[in-house]
């Protein structure tokens, strides 16, 4: 399970961010998580809580927005949602999709902090 490693990197980053802004009281962390990132949402939620222990983020909540997998179809010259994660092809014309446009991200989008 690498979600714990990812939660720790994430917390380090948020703490750094907080420091550069003079110390934030973070209540909610908004994370964008691609469905094709290889990171499990529930495992990450669990790991986050665990990894917050003993840090300034203890008691904060993690909110995860799932970002769907989108590929680029060279034939249609359009972004497309493939039929599934197991079939990376264009749902319209069937052309295999080799370029991933989104769905891999693991990104802290914003923080809700006490005003």
């Amino acid at each position: 399970m690498h979600e714990l490693s990812i939660a720790i990197s994430m917390i380090d980053q948020i703490l750094e961010e907080s420091e550069t802004r003079g110390g934030l009281d973070v209540e909610v962390v908004h994370l964008k998580l691609g469905t094709f990132s290889g990171v499990d949402k529930d495992a990450l939620l669990f790991s986050y809580e665990l990894a917050c222990e003993g840090t300034r983020l203890k008691g904060s909540r993690l909110e995860i927005e799932s970002i769907p997998l989108i590929i680029y179809c060279g034939a249609c010259q359009k972004n497309r949602t493939p039929p599934s994660m197991y079939q990376l092809s264009c749902p319209e014309c069937g052309t295999p999709g080799q370029t991933i446009v989104s769905g891999r991200e693991i990104e802290v989008a914003s923080l809700e902090v006490a005003a």
Binding site: Q87, I106, V108, L111
Partner: protein, 228 residues
């Protein structure tokens, strides 16, 4: 109590990605072709690597880093093919990251290494999030583990460049459905190059040697062109 929003937009893997990018530049600069190997536990990474190292060592300088949770057995096996082998013991961590690779490379003269292989911890999930700076990532799938592995682990197959079907000597006994395996690989990673090999019989290995030599030659050509 009122709250306010602070925009952050920070990539969580940024630190690893930056380090991996620096490693990749260093490998290119030194002319070393670096290949990462990932698979489930026991798919045959070390056996394949033993064959690769001894086969390539005939006319190239080879080295390997091998990640393992606890033991140093794999490194000991690989040392039969080349003395340039280092173990990365990860303890409880189920994957290698760029920092572990950088640390393990300490004091190695990369300019004297043509091919460097990095065997990841046996795991089809976690390594997909960690770029190690490798030029190519090989994902291995053994003929004994079922042809639906690519569908179960699309992320790692998609993030790899080449698929190696191993243990082909056991394919018949395991009733391995090769066309289905190839179809599944193509479905999760269209256009992916696939090799079928056996580390036991050596079947299919020459094609991999040729592929790697061609890869090395072309990356060095790009390097020379860039220097002109």
């Amino acid at each position: 109590m009122s709250t306010r929003m602070v925009e952050v937009r920070a990539k969580v893997m940024k630190q690893n990605d930056l380090l991996a990018r620096a490693l990749r530049e260093r490998f290119r600069g030194e002319g070393t072709c670096v290949v990462g190997l990932v698979s489930s536990p026991g798919s045959g990474k070390t056996a394949f690597l033993e064959k690769l190292l001894s086969g390539l060592a005939r006319d190239a300088r080879v080295a390997a880093l091998v990640g393992d949770l606890a033991t140093e057995n794999d490194a000991a096996r690989l040392q039969r093919a080349t003395p340039n082998v280092r173990q990365i013991t990860t303890g409880t961590i189920c994957h290698l990251d760029a920092q572990m690779v950088e640390k393990a490379l300490e004091s190695w003269r990369l300019d004297r290494i043509d091919f460097l292989f990095i065997e990841n911890v046996g795991n089809l999930v976690c390594p997909s999030s960690y770029d190690l700076g490798e030029e190519l990532r090989f994902v291995l799938l053994s003929a004994t583990e079922g042809e639906d592995k690519p569908l179960k682990y699309p992320t790692i197959f998609n993030s790899s460049d080449v698929a190696i079907i191993t243990k082909m000597d056991l394919a018949d006994a395991a009733e391995f459905d090769l066309p289905a395996a190839r179809r599944n690989i193509e479905s999760v990673r269209p256009g992916m190059k696939v090799f079928e090999v056996s580390a036991k019989t050596g079947q299919g290995m020459p094609a991999v040697f040729d592929f790697l030599h061609a890869q090395l030659a072309s990356s060095r050509q790009i390097r020379v062109a860039a220097a002109l």
